[in-house]
Symmetry: C2
Subunit: 613 residues, 2 copies
Amino acid sequence: VVCRGLYRALCIREKYMKKSLQRFPKTPSQFLRNIEGAVWRADECCAPVFTPPVKKDEDPFQMDNLPLDLTYCIRMKGGVVYVYGDTAAASRGDPMDLSYPNLEDFLDDMNFLLALMAQGPVKTYAHRRLKFLSSKFTVHEMLNEMEELRELKNNPHRDFYNCRKVDTHIHAAACMNQKHLLRFIKKSYRVDAARVVYDAKGKKLTLKQLFQQLSLHPYDLTVDSLDVHAGRQTFQRFDKFNDKYNPVGASELRDLYLKTENAIDGEYFATIIKEVGSDLEDAKYQYAEPRLSIYGRSPEEWARLASWFNRHRVYSPNMKWMIQVPRIYDVFRAKNFLPNFGKMLENIFVPIFEATVRPQANKELSVFLRHITGFDSVDDESKHSGHMFSTKSPKPDKWSHEKNPSYSYYLYYMYANVAVLNSLRRERGMNTFLFRPHCGEAGAITHLLAAFMTADNISHGLNLKKSPVLQYLYFLTQIPIAMSPLSNNSLFLEYAKNPLLDLHQKGLMVSLSTDDPMQFHFTKEPLMEEYAIAAQVFKLSTCDMCELARNSVLQCGLSHEEKTKFLGENYREEGPQGNDIRKTNVAQIRMAYRYETWCYELNLIAEGLKTTE
Amino acid sequence: VVCRGLYRALCIREKYMKKSLQRFPKTPSQFLRNIEGAVWRADECCAPVFTPPVKKDEDPFQMDNLPLDLTYCIRMKGGVVYVYGDTAAASRGDPMDLSYPNLEDFLDDMNFLLALMAQGPVKTYAHRRLKFLSSKFTVHEMLNEMEELRELKNNPHRDFYNCRKVDTHIHAAACMNQKHLLRFIKKSYRVDAARVVYDAKGKKLTLKQLFQQLSLHPYDLTVDSLDVHAGRQTFQRFDKFNDKYNPVGASELRDLYLKTENAIDGEYFATIIKEVGSDLEDAKYQYAEPRLSIYGRSPEEWARLASWFNRHRVYSPNMKWMIQVPRIYDVFRAKNFLPNFGKMLENIFVPIFEATVRPQANKELSVFLRHITGFDSVDDESKHSGHMFSTKSPKPDKWSHEKNPSYSYYLYYMYANVAVLNSLRRERGMNTFLFRPHCGEAGAITHLLAAFMTADNISHGLNLKKSPVLQYLYFLTQIPIAMSPLSNNSLFLEYAKNPLLDLHQKGLMVSLSTDDPMQFHFTKEPLMEEYAIAAQVFKLSTCDMCELARNSVLQCGLSHEEKTKFLGENYREEGPQGNDIRKTNVAQIRMAYRYETWCYELNLIAEGLKTTE
């Protein structure tokens, strides 16, 4: 029974990943086909399409190579965008053949998984397997640690410092450290004091006047008065933490320095991000995936963000962009900015569909989308919504009351639209997107269940601690998890209690990320600081650290070409075959151990199913 | 009875500090005089003499301003150097009036303190006072944390980043990080492959030949193969840790890159140290006190070290030098390099006395000594010597068996000679030295007792955990402790269990230091890494961090002029008066709290003595 449950859970994730052109690893797919007595075919593999890296002498903002406009017609229906061949088809209600989701099936699957998570025998099984995985790794370490080290020592020219590592979870608005922001503010004042930079309800202010109005002089500013760093006060207080985005507690400064829309068209924000990018280029082996916000408050947001991106040429070869959507419908609704949740989804997704169908008419946005690799869903997960996603939940266009929908509801509708979008974009030969929500930082464990069905990978995942079944499923499907223990340490969980080490030992696919260097980090290299502290506190070996770095490259939205360069030609193979130690500095012994262990667990399920038959 | 014991303990330390021109704070001195019904006079204060900073356009290696030679005569007697007016006085056995120690008094005092440490009521008293101090700090924090923060926010232009901080404990041979050493080795090979750099028992080798002989090519070298980083293997294994000083496990490379005496006269070592120095100068607010070794194996060591220092002009305004003496008499004796322990002491101290008396005849050494600020005593403290220092212990010149003397024996004879040397050097208008041994990293708690009597300040102090009486005495006398939790984490104690936070909260004078960046740190700024990790793991506030930084400046061997510049004019005052928040960024509320608490505890002793009378 247990194995049948797990088998079906794996099938569920496989289905939703394929449908949305997200990743599901080959090995469990093969096992599933095997169980079904079917033959696994290599072309079953579904893979996202990433934009290849910008070539030398190529302009990342080039607009003359965009595809032609089509006459397709776009309508949102029940919170999901439908694409029609033309207006006639639209009025007939006859959409094109794209991977539209089926809400009822989804809810059925979700309810099945919910029941599975709660089943005693499944819990026991998962718990025991996880415990076994832990102990097995300890044994592996004791036996093979020196062997692993020897492999790495004999691996010429590659060490942890020149392994590629990606900061898989970082917010653009906090991607600089506090000292960097302080220096930038001081510099801007030296250069730009007389420039009109702020529009206070029609009253134009120069930078000097703005600081006078705040009774501040930039020369006196310090990181203390800037006060953007998370301290002891923010623990368990996400609300206080959000206020830390306001330098000196002044939203004016946040608007001026950390926003894309303001009286100077977000020039300072663009400059500071480009500085971070050029620091990464100098460091050479470090990459980052900063998130920019789309709120869904108005349909023009996309055009404005794209225009900011193009105008300031916010590009660095060491950065891949993501879009984060804050789950704050309730805030907008309370202020009457939106009539219902459906409108928010429309504002978020219709413009991208438009740009996908008619790139020539949406040139800036189309260029911008080329650089986007995924979507993130963000907000304080510990807030309880009081809503339970079920067949009785109102459809988004009927969701007009002030309460926020639940996390699962948000995730389903984001996923559904991304899935349709991806199938359309693949048809058009464009890059596709991954769905990579914040998940399991706090709140109910159902969040992790929703992400299991919808997300290519997640950020945080702390709450996997609390559900052995989900943890085991995340292991079996190797869902990447970008963890940020320093961020957690300031917000939700003390460093030493962070499950990172435990999950890594068990063999879950974990990477390290900074979340918000502005708030959490002290040094000039936040990602290195993150690795260094983890290495020190958890006593990680070089092999562990290089494995985390390799995971981060696999998890991220870097293109196939870049991954090939950073990880080796066969990086898409699973197990030791896929590892090129000369590039990754991960010992083959480690890779073999991980692969064997994974296959062993999958095989147990297959065996379990055989005996019941 | 308890208070009488503590009172006498304080008097003992005061006596030995005064005698050796080391520091004893004003506040407890005033309390002691008060208890005695005597009047405290400001001129009672004894202070070490540090060399003022090198002025602009002044040559740090200038030799023409050295004092004239004297005809004094120097003889070592019973392990202590005696100075005589001339040879006649020497043969009469009539030494000059300098602060020679009295071994019997010392042993009496030591035995008194040993008994005190073991007395039940004293232990209870100290334990309760310490517990009170802990709780009091927690209350202080809850009440005043936001006030402290407000003070710091209103403090213009100064924050943690531009507070001066000193790396109070770092070994020159490991002062660069592993990546730096690796880069340096690769660079040296590119430039110097054809240069003769090594002398293998008469056979001269070029750099290329040397690497060929080791079957290595520097291009392939990585931090993994370099293998100088402490890992999990070194925990509780000081022996393995010492081997980590050999890059690629090859002592040839240690000789070439990390030693002052070799076929290239230590040129590479000097260059790499100067690079570290110039990194510190670039960082501007960071200073370091690297230790160079004098072994006492031969009397020429000093001349050779001084010549290395002068030849390569190893100078940086951001570095102050110290001499470390490894406690390895037993090793030398076993190899028959030394006839007895007295000879080792002679080799260590007589050359400096000579240079002090006859600077013109020892120009290089005299210049070198100008840059030295103190002595350190180093080795694995967990090795047990099996010897108990008492009146029955043989004198150093009689100590000819192969066993190593005990830690206390070492400390007494180093202290004794430093005390005489200091009084001679002050007479001559020269700089004096502090005694700053490694102490309490491991081993018996008597080590901490010996340091209480002899040392201006110590490194490590972990074992203060184990003796409430000593911990309380270290608090009352505010003995600075340079702690290195990252080093401890790799060697003796897990990070989260480090007593740093506890001692800091109780109000002991703690600073942060790196010990060996080559072995322990990952980033380019090891001291910042040390602070960052402590801040994250222990959740230190900005005020805590700035207090640690201030402590490090007070503890270190920077000159009066520099300390005035970095801490403010009144830095020698104790309590809030001595703090200039504009320079230190430590809140006055914090300073007032610390001072009140200190005085309260001292006053308790005074009161206790009154009631018994």
